[in-house]
């Protein structure tokens, strides 16, 4: 383990606290504050994985996850970005995509086979003959790819979510972001800062350069961070990446939890009134031969390894840079003990004279107009070929570290994802924001600024603009802030170089997908002339780094190679998530939200087997006999109890209540009489039946009605929608959850029922289709309807939910002597099917109209003034012979029932089975089907095709409905 630098004020590690972890089966130690990669680096690991196609060794290159070089499997989770994942005690880390090890990968010969794999080779080569493809695919999949995951993998970890509202959301916690937050917060606005690193400070945070008056940049960062965190109305989210920006200033992101947090990761969704994009810059990778060899890294990476993690990134370095930050880093690292063989700077001139002076004083050789051309060394850097930018002269230096960067490039994803546009700026060489999205403002280095004071002033300005979006502040203030910024230094000239003078066979523009400059040339030569197409053909930028490495190099190179006079070419579209995000993080906590009925507990005690049906959990069976023989027979011969609480239940009242009912129900609702139950249905404007239920009148313009369980959530919406132009005065109250419903059915129902009440329930006093309201035990207000859905004598009790348990227990007690039993939804389904009572959604689908299912008798044609929903379509459909008809059928030769949904065919599909069961009541298989009209005649033979039945068919015959108790005497007894 190497000795760490321990006295730097910028360190984020605590060397006193050791953390143990497993790597390739062996135990290693890191320290608190390490990332996985910084811990491994300290233990001498330089090769972290092998590349996707060529199995090239890959090492530490950046520290912010722009490429997959350091993706490894951590605690069973593949593709973890280890360079910015904090080390935890006990972690188990494995390499990916290697045969053997990353150090000695048996597949590394593939690097020499690149001539076999030109850009798009899999599109070109492996489809002829077609037989090759499955074999080739298998081999490719074995050799290529990154992490592996099994289909039944279960993601470990705790995931959470929060939904925030704010006035201003600042993306980026660097100097400009913090200044923006402060200027908006000082106006009393609510501000949120999202910073992807675990701490605030941005590119100030690890630099020792003077800010002013001998205050260093990292001290300035601390000062600002302190101001921000002590401001009450600023909420700071560190270790939080913003991954999406959308319309109406919706910002999404995720936060990595700390040890004390209740989550490992949490999804964050922020609705802001205004957004400040201040994500700063990343480095634009320098492209030269072997530019991803372990030992090549970016400026920020090399410097932060020392200043954040206390490790010198090498012993003997060559710098190939194009920006003053490179000179600054070289000086700092030199002072920390790194030997610097030389610095080559792409720029001929324009360097900060103070930096040049210091470099000279320290006798570090500096070559202007030079660039790294080729990294030497097979697995690790052993030296570097340098050349003048024009390629004319070259020299070689031995070294173990090449710090390479072509320059800076702004992080513009948050702007372009929200449909802002970029424009190439020839002075900075940057793609700068052009049209900003509505109520989004850019600040800091994204604007090409480089001077600290300018960066901060741009933050202040953006904060004021954002405040103005929140109707706070004045145009004058903004004008003043703008002037202040204009008086400060503007953007600096940037380098435009994309590649060193190389052919590019081993010069990688995209590490994740192993795409080289040569591949890009191949694509262009095939006619793919714009980055968006080249991206797809070569896969450049499709890897886990989300285009972080090729991002702005691809359009620049394409422009250069085609010798376009201006860079009108734009970067490829980036899309959310801008940073790889776990699906589990998006899923969040995922609370299951289902409704239960007031009888839930009691039915569970009675061994009910529950199913999720729509929004409800309902008891579907009461034994493991899924055919429900006992449940069914008990209702037919004795008495059973069904929980019908999921039925939609509504009160409608007010002066225009009847008008509203007339509009949506097909029947004439003015004929509903008090004390009677009216069954009716609702249709849509196509005449298709969408709902059915019963209506009772409780007073003048005061009705109580039921709907099917599945429609209850939409009933108010439906009625209000179809009366929205009428201005009618009526009130709807959803009582679905207010009332529990017990359906007490069977020949003994009356005997049970009369025991718990003291009114006369004889057939004469309370006949079929009648309705009564009374109190049970003088206390429980109860509404009872005599219905016959299952075809037996039955009472439907509507009881306030809180009393339901008491009534349930009374009925059970009263029914004990008759051996009363529960029956579930499936038993009810069979019972009513035997009676040919339909269930909408089962005997109907979207296109089925009221007439098709034989409910035409409900429709009252004489209320045209009501403009009944569906009436026009129904009258037009009345003589339509092309529609399906609902028929009853039984199976031939005592055959079994077909499956629900099976098709009725001859040489074509002629209909389908709605519901069919082996009926215990009838001792044969019966069912209902929707068939074409010519097949609906009694006696027609139906040919039934079931899934996967091949050439086998089963046959049924159309019979009259209903099958059970055709005279309906049992429900009226």
């Amino acid at each position: 383990m190497i000795n760490r630098l321990t006295s730097l004020p910028t360190l984020k590690i605590d060397t006193a606290q050791k953390l143990a972890f497993m790597y390739k089966g062996k135990k290693y130690y890191g320290v608190k504050g390490d990332t996985i990669v910084s811990a491994l680096f300290a233990n001498g690991v330089r090769i972290f994985g092998r590349s996707l196609k060529y199995h090239r060794p890959r090492g530490l290159y950046s520290l912010d996850g722009e490429c997959s070089n350091t993706c490894m499997e951590v605690d069973g989770i593949p593709n973890v970005r280890c360079e910015n994942t904090l080390l935890k005690d006990g972690m188990v880390i494995k390499e990916q995509n290697v045969k053997g090890s990353a150090e000695n990968d048996m597949m590394s010969f593939l690097d020499k086979m690149d001539w076999l794999m030109p850009a798009g080779f899999y599109y070109n080569v492996m489809h002829k003959p077609a037989k090759i493809w499955p074999i080739a695919m298998k081999q490719i999949r074995k050799a290529a790819g990154l992490g592996k995951i099994s289909p039944d993998y279960k993601m470990p970890g705790k995931f959470d979510e929060i939904f925030l509202n704010t006035d201003v959301c600042v993306i980026g916690g660097g100097p400009s972001g913090m200044m923006a937050a402060l200027s908006a917060a000082k106006k009393g606005l609510r501000v949120i800062i999202m910073e992807s690193r675990p701490w605030l400070g941005g590119f100030y945070e690890y630099r020792s350069k003077e800010y002013k008056n001998s205050q260093t940049l990292h001290d300035r960062a601390k000062q600002l961070a302190n101001e921000v965190t002590t401001q009450d109305n600023i909420r700071v989210f560190t270790h939080t990446s913003a991954v999406g920006t959308y319309n109406n200033n919706l910002v999404t992101g995720f936060q990595i939890g700390k040890k004390e947090d209740v989550f490992d990761e949490r999804y964050i969704e922020i609705r802001a009134k205004s957004v400040v994009a201040a994500a700063g810059c990343i480095e634009r990778p320098l492209i030269f031969d072997n530019n991803e060899r372990p030992g090549v890294m970016q400026i920020g990476c090399a410097l932060r390894m020392a200043k954040t993690y206390g490790q010198l990134p090498g012993k003997n370095a060559v710098f190939s840079i194009g920006h003053d930050l490179g000179l600054e880093a070289a000086l700092e690292l030199h002072d920390l003990g790194l030997t610097i063989a030389c610095i080559v700077d792409i720029r001929e001139d324009g360097q900060d004279p103070q930096l040049l002076e210091k470099i000279q004083a320290k006798k570090i050789p500096l070559f202007k107009g030079w660039v790294a051309k080729k990294a030497l060394g097979a697995k690790r850097v052993k030296g570097v070929d340098l050349s003048s930018v024009d390629g004319q002269i070259s020299k070689t230096f031995p070294c173990d570290l090449i710090v390479a960067s072509a320059g800076m490039t702004p992080v513009t994803g948050h702007i372009t994802v929200a449909l802002g546009t970029l424009k190439y700026d020839t002075y900075t060489g940057f793609f700068l924001p052009d049209q900003m999205p509505d109520k989004m403002h850019a600040a800091g280095r994204i604007l090409g600024l480089n001077d600290s004071f300018s960066i901060e002033a741009s933050g202040t300005l953006a904060g004021l603009k954002a405040a103005f979006d929140c109707e706070n502040g004045s145009i004058k203030e903004i004008g003043d802030a703008k002037k202040a910024l204009e008086n400060l230094p503007g953007p600096v000239r940037g380098t435009k170089l994309v590649t060193a003078p190389v052919k590019g066979r081993k010069s990688f523009i995209c590490f994740d997908e192993d795409a080289t400059i040569k591949n890009i040339k191949q694509a262009i030569e095939k006619g793919f002339d714009v980055p968006e197409l080249i991206k797809r053909f070569t896969a450049t930028g499709l890897g886990p780094g989300q285009g972080g490495i090729p991002g702005h190099n691809l359009p620049l190179y394409v422009a250069k190679y085609q010798a376009l006079s201006d860079v009108s070419i734009r970067p490829t579209n980036v899309r959310p998530p801008l940073v790889p995000t776990l699906i589990s993080t998006y899923a969040g906590v995922n609370h299951k939200m289902f409704k239960i009925t007031p009888m839930d507990e009691m039915q569970k005690k009675d061994n009910g087997i529950f199913r999720n049906i729509g929004v409800w959990q309902r008891a579907r069976y009461f034994s493991n006999d899924l055919l429900c023989k006992k449940e069914i027979e008990n209702v037919r011969n004795n008495v059973g109890m069904l929980d019908g609480s999921t039925l939609g239940k509504f009160r409608i009242h007010g002066p225009d209540a009847l008008k509203a009912l007339q509009r949506v129900f097909v029947s004439d609702m003015s004929r509903v009489k008090e004390g009677r139950v009216k069954y009716s249905a609702m249709c849509n404007d196509d005449g298709c039946v969408i709902d059915d239920g019963v209506v009772v009148k409780q007073g003048e313009n005061d009705y109580y009605f039921t709907t099917s369980s599945g429609r209850a959530g939409q009933t108010v919406e439906w009625i209000r929608y179809h009366t929205r132009y009428d201005g009618w005065d009526f009130a709807l109250v959803n009582l679905t959850d207010s009332m529990g419903v017990i359906n007490l059915s069977g020949p003994n129902a009356r005997k049970v029922f009369e025991k718990i009440i003291d009114i006369d329930v004889s057939n004469e006093a309370f006949g079929y289709s009648e309705y009564k309201e009374f109190k049970i035990a003088d206390t429980i207000p109860t509404r009872v309807m005599r219905l016959g859905f299952v075809g037996e004598l039955s009472y439907e009790l509507h009881v306030p939910s809180s009393y339901m348990k008491s009534v349930w227990l009374m009925l059970k007690e009263a029914g004990k002597e008759f051996n009363i039993q529960n029956f579930g939804v499936e038993a009810q389904n069979v019972l009513r099917m035997e009676k040919c009572h339909i269930i909408l959604g089962q005997e109907s689908e979207q296109r089925t109209n009221l007439l098709d299912v034989g409910l035409g008798f409900l429709w009252d044609r004489k209320k045209a003034e009501a403009k009944t929903v569906g009436a026009v379509a129904l009258s037009q459909a009345e003589n339509d012979q092309t529609r399906l008809k609902l028929v009853g059928f039984k199976m031939e030769n005592n055959g079994r029932a077909p499956r629900d949904g099976a098709l009725i065919v001859d040489e074509k599909v002629r209909g389908y089975i709605a519901t069919a069961r082996d009926s215990f009541s009838l001792n044969e298989a019966v069912g209902m089907a929707l068939v074409e009209a010519p097949l609906s005649k009694i006696g027609t033979r139906l040919e039934i095709y079931e899934d996967e039945c091949g050439d086998d068919r089963i046959y049924g015959k159309v019979v009259t409905m209903p099958f059970y108790d055709p005279e309906g005497q049992r429900m009226k007894m």
């Binding site: 404007d685 108010v716 919406e717 929608y721 009436a871 026009v872």
Partner: protein, 86 residues
């Protein structure tokens, strides 16, 4: 959801609280002598403008009211009524 809808009762809310109720087409037409084609047009045919359209929304997770807004179908952003008239 990025979409927001401004409910006249509850104010600006996330789009997923609402259900879309179609384009504004005016009250139910007179049903007398309505041809099947004319009825089908009323029920199913839409203008599908690329631009600002007046449309119905229902606040299903909120106050339960139906109301109309103007929305630019090309940007999915709401527009003020006076802006829409331009």
């Amino acid at each position: 959801m990025a979409l927001t809808i401004t409910c006249p009762i509850c104010g600006k809310r996330n789009g997923y609280e609402f259900r879309f109720g179609g384009e504004e087409k005016g009250p139910r037409p007179d049903e007398k002598d309505m041809t099947p084609e004319a009825w089908c047009d009323y029920v199913h045919m839409n203008k599908c403008v690329a631009g600002i359209q007046e449309e119905w929304w229902f606040h299903k997770d909120g106050c339960g009211s139906w109301f109309k807004i103007h929305r630019d179908t090309t940007t999915n952003l709401e527009k003020e009524a006076q802006e829409a008239k331009k």
